[in-house]
């Protein structure tokens, strides 16, 4: 394979980062104060919650499944734990570290329930997670008054704390980047990660090749639950409270972020690196429109348009890739003949 072809293919495979940089430079030229340290930190800070959900959704997508319950888990897990630790059993569960642990545990358990129903009982992932999402949302509205505040500073640390030593950097940003880095390693360099992607690419072939595919599916949902719980703690920390509306409607945007990042809807294809790009582009896009003074409601519609562009780009990318490879093949044949 020729060198220039390799470069072209690499660029095509990382097209989200190309789009991100182009968009960034365009905005930096056109919008004053866009490229300032404060605004960049602002963009990243506002992206952290969505990033967690994009990773959760993307991770399940890699396995060839969906999870519609992630934004409900985002509200339910911290909501119920805070309720329990402040109202129901303030003595036994008052410890904030315990509360963090319980939030993660609850998220993981919900994910396990989803995964068990899909992998072992053969339920359709769409239906299963949709029904659970409605149940959890309903329970949140039933249990939690408008909001519970304030929270223990330990609990709200990852969502709220800022490091004054490094330009007032919010703790959420390094936390998010670290988690993404860990998932990059997990997917690329571990046996689990490769088997997990293989299951998404072709579950039947993976089963025949000796991979425990139901374990892979269940683990995928557990991890999505855990990440949604982290997203919930980030949200709770930022607003220093838990409320019954938090995270509402974010699930579908999380799909968008994952798709923008090059994740395949049919599984087996995608990377943590790409998903991060997708999440940041979503955040940067709404930030730019914000700075331009576009109304909040219209920003939502514009994000929809961005998703459309993403899908279009993806189709374009796939056909371009095929054409490049075909040309290379034809050239090779010509050389062989002549």
């Amino acid at each position: 394979m020729s060198g220039s072809l390799k470069i072209k293919l690499t660029l095509l495979d990382n097209i989200i980062w190309l789009m991100l940089f182009l968009f960034f430079f365009a905005c930096a030229l056109g919008i004053p104060a866009f490229a300032s340290w404060n605004n960049i930190v602002n963009i990243l800070y506002h992206t952290t919650i969505m990033s967690m959900l994009v990773l959760a959704q993307g991770f399940v997508l890699l396995n060839g499944n969906f999870d519609l319950s992630i934004d409900a888990v985002l509200a339910f897990a911290p909501g119920v734990v805070i309720l329990a630790s402040t109202k129901w059993f303030p003595v036994a569960l008052g410890n904030p570290y315990l509360a963090i642990l319980l939030t993660l545990l609850l998220g993981g358990c919900i994910g396990f329930f989803n995964g068990y129903c899909v992998a072992k009982l053969g339920m359709n992932a769409f239906m299963q997670t949709l029904s659970l999402s409605i149940i959890l949302r309903g329970m949140v509205l039933f249990l939690i008054p408008l909001s519970i505040f304030p929270l223990d500073p330990v609990y709200s640390f990852i969502g709220k704390a800022r490091f004054s030593a490094v330009g007032n950097l919010p703790a959420a940003i390094p936390v998010t980047f670290t988690i993404y880095f860990l998932f990059h390693i997990l997917l690329r360099h571990t046996v689990f990660g490769r088997n997990y992607l293989a299951t998404g690419g072709n579950a039947r072939a993976s089963f025949v090749a000796g991979i425990d595919t139901s374990k892979m599916v269940i683990t995928g949902f557990v991890i999505a639950g855990l990440l949604s719980a982290v997203a919930g703690m980030l949200t709770a920390g930022r607003q220093d409270s838990v409320s019954n509306t938090m995270g509402n409607g974010m699930t579908l945007l999380a799909f968008a972020g994952a798709l923008l990042g090059g994740t395949s809807m049919s599984g087996g294809k995608g990377s943590a690196f790409g998903m991060l790009g997708g999440a940041i582009l979503l955040g940067m896009f709404s930030n730019a429109l914000n700075l331009l003074g576009v109304k909040v409601t219209l920003i939502h519609a514009a994000q929809g348009a961005l998703i459309f562009v993403a899908i279009l780009t993806d189709r374009f990318r796939i056909s371009l890739r095929a054409r490049l490879l075909r040309n290379e093949q034809l050239q090779k044949l010509k050389v062989a003949k002549g």
Partner: protein, 515 residues
């Protein structure tokens, strides 16, 4: 009338199709005249399915033109093919299981009575067609309740009678037909010929082609060898044209039987109700044991049962004299029993993965420490196998879906080799691959695979089995008919056993499948 007849309805001019790594069709010139049944034959991988794909608009030719009804096209789509009056009957009957027989028959052709469907008319028309050809099927029956053969004949009727096409392509349509339905097919084809339609008849059976067709075109390695009228051909000359050289040397050079060692695998009365029953044999190290049988003889199910994918109901499996019963493929793989699936697309490959990743799929945990992949060692092993099975690709990073059939199969074989298993269960490793790939796959089996292990092998072609096996077992409808030693190999006798001649009367039918 005479003038119309001499003008072809379908004309292919200089059609080529290039896939990465292979040339599937090269400069094909082909014509079909009205009122003729034109047979198309060639070995697996000769290019038949690509040609059908191009005619049906599913495969885009790399170059060349297609002329239909005097108009020429450089590319062809599914809807264009239909509009130009080309109907295709595919190999696997694809019907809508939840619709009635009548609606399946008229699917896409539902007559429009100001926007509404006239059910009574459709039902009556369908029943009339079914009755005309003597089919004992009710038009109201759900398609799900039909047998495989009835489903296929339904599709044939749809293409030949309902769609009123000028050109009908029957792609191995007779393969899943019962004896009775095959006679109906012959009648349908005869009617098409009389009404001046062109029929393209693709089959693996020489007898059938010589019986039904007017002219025959032989394909070999993506090229047309010859087109001749039937009376210029007989069994022997046709067979020679298909194979391309003297019949005896189509495989790798037959070597002396290698060292045969201790017993690895032993089956005692293994039974899976409805698929096969009372199968017993033993496999030794360094031995290649072939299993011959038609589709539905239980050969695939037998291999799947041993490998734990669809476990058996009764009987015993011994691996190195130890009783085993694998209930999942991962248990079998851990013990050293590797299975190569029949369908590489759905069961063999992760299409989105690169060649390297596919090669390492089974063995990746061997090249890891604490759950982390040791990239360098894994990469070295992958490279070793990549070179060993001679995959033709730009690099190992190319994704598997871009490869040709033969190279895909080599990737799957390489994948199961990577684990160095002791028993290989190979289900049709040469199915649908080109002749070059087939040869190298057979020599891999005959060389490195058998050197270190025992091999159980099935194949669509008897000649493959005869070329490399030490023994051949013949299955017919789930029963073991006969075991051949290498010195007794005889294609004709094997062929008779595979077709079940003499067996049915002797045993009084198929007790194993009756459950």
């Amino acid at each position: 009338m005479e003038e119309v007849c001499s003008k072809p309805v379908l004309l292919l001019e200089g059609i080529s199709k290039v896939y990465p790594g292979t040339v599937a069709l090269e400069n094909i010139h082909f014509e079909a005249l009205p009122g003729e049944v034109h047979g198309l034959i060639g070995k697996n991988g000769a290019g038949k399915s690509t040609l059908v794909g191009i005619l049906s608009g599913l495969v885009e030719p790399t170059s060349g033109t297609i002329m239909v009804n005097g108009r020429s096209f450089s590319s062809f789509s599914r809807s264009r093919a239909k509009r130009e009056g080309i109907s295709i009957v595919p190999q696997e009957p694809e019907i809508v299981l939840d619709l009635s027989v009548a609606e399946n028959l008229f699917l896409g052709e539902l007559e429009n009575c100001s926007g509404f469907v006239s059910w009574s008319k459709i039902r009556a028309d369908a029943q009339r067609i079914l009755d005309r050809f003597g089919l004992d099927i009710g038009a109201d029956l759900q398609a799900r309740d039909l047998s495989l053969s009835e489903r296929q004949i339904l599709l044939i009727l749809k293409a030949c009678v309902v769609e009123d096409a000028n050109v009908v392509v029957l792609d191995e349509a007779s393969a899943s037909l019962s004896r009775n339905d095959a006679a109906i097919l012959k009648r349908i084809v005869g009617e098409l010929r009389e009404s001046g339609k062109a029929v393209l008849y693709i089959s693996h059976h020489i007898d059938e082609l010589l019986d039904i067709c007017d002219r025959l075109t032989v394909l070999r390695d993506g090229r047309i060898v010859t087109t001749r009228t039937k009376n210029m051909l007989d069994h022997h000359s046709l067979a020679e044209l298909i194979v391309g050289e003297t019949l005896s040397s189509s495989g790798p050079e037959r070597k002396e039987a290698g060292y045969i060692g201790e017993e690895l695998l032993r089956l005692e009365n293994l039974t899976r109700w409805g698929n096969f029953c009372n199968i017993s044999f033993s496999l030794k190290k360094g031995e290649i044991l072939g299993i011959a049988g038609l589709r539905g003889s239980g050969r695939t199910e037998l291999l799947k049962a041993i490998s734990g994918i669809e476990p058996a109901d009764a009987g015993k499996i011994f691996f190195k004299d130890k009783r085993v019963s694998f209930s999942t493929p991962s248990e079998a793989i851990r013990m050293g029993v590797a299975y190569l699936p029949e369908d590489r697309e759905t069961e063999g490959l992760i299409q989105t993965f690169s060649i390297r990743e596919n090669l390492l799929l089974n063995s990746i945990s061997r090249f890891s420490r604490n759950g982390f992949v040791l990239r360098r060692e894994a990469g070295r092993r992958a490279e070793e196998i990549f070179a060993g099975v001679q995959i033709q690709a730009f690099s190992m990073e190319q994704s598997a879906e871009e490869l040709s059939g033969g190279n895909k199969q080599k990737v799957v074989i390489g994948r199961i080799m990577a684990n160095a298993p002791e028993v290989y269960l190979l289900d049709e490793p040469t199915r649908g691959v080109d002749i070059g790939a087939k040869r190298s796959i057979l020599s891999i089996i005959h060389g490195p695979l058998r050197a270190a292990s025992g091999v159980l092998l099935t194949s669509p072609g008897l000649d493959d089995l005869m070329d490399i096996c030490d023994r051949i077992l013949v299955l017919y409808k789930g029963n073991m008919v006969r075991e051949y030693q290498q010195k007794d190999f005889d294609e004709k006798s094997l062929f008779m056993d595979v077709q079940g001649f003499g067996y049915q009367d002797q045993r009084g039918g198929d007790e194993c499948r009756a459950v």
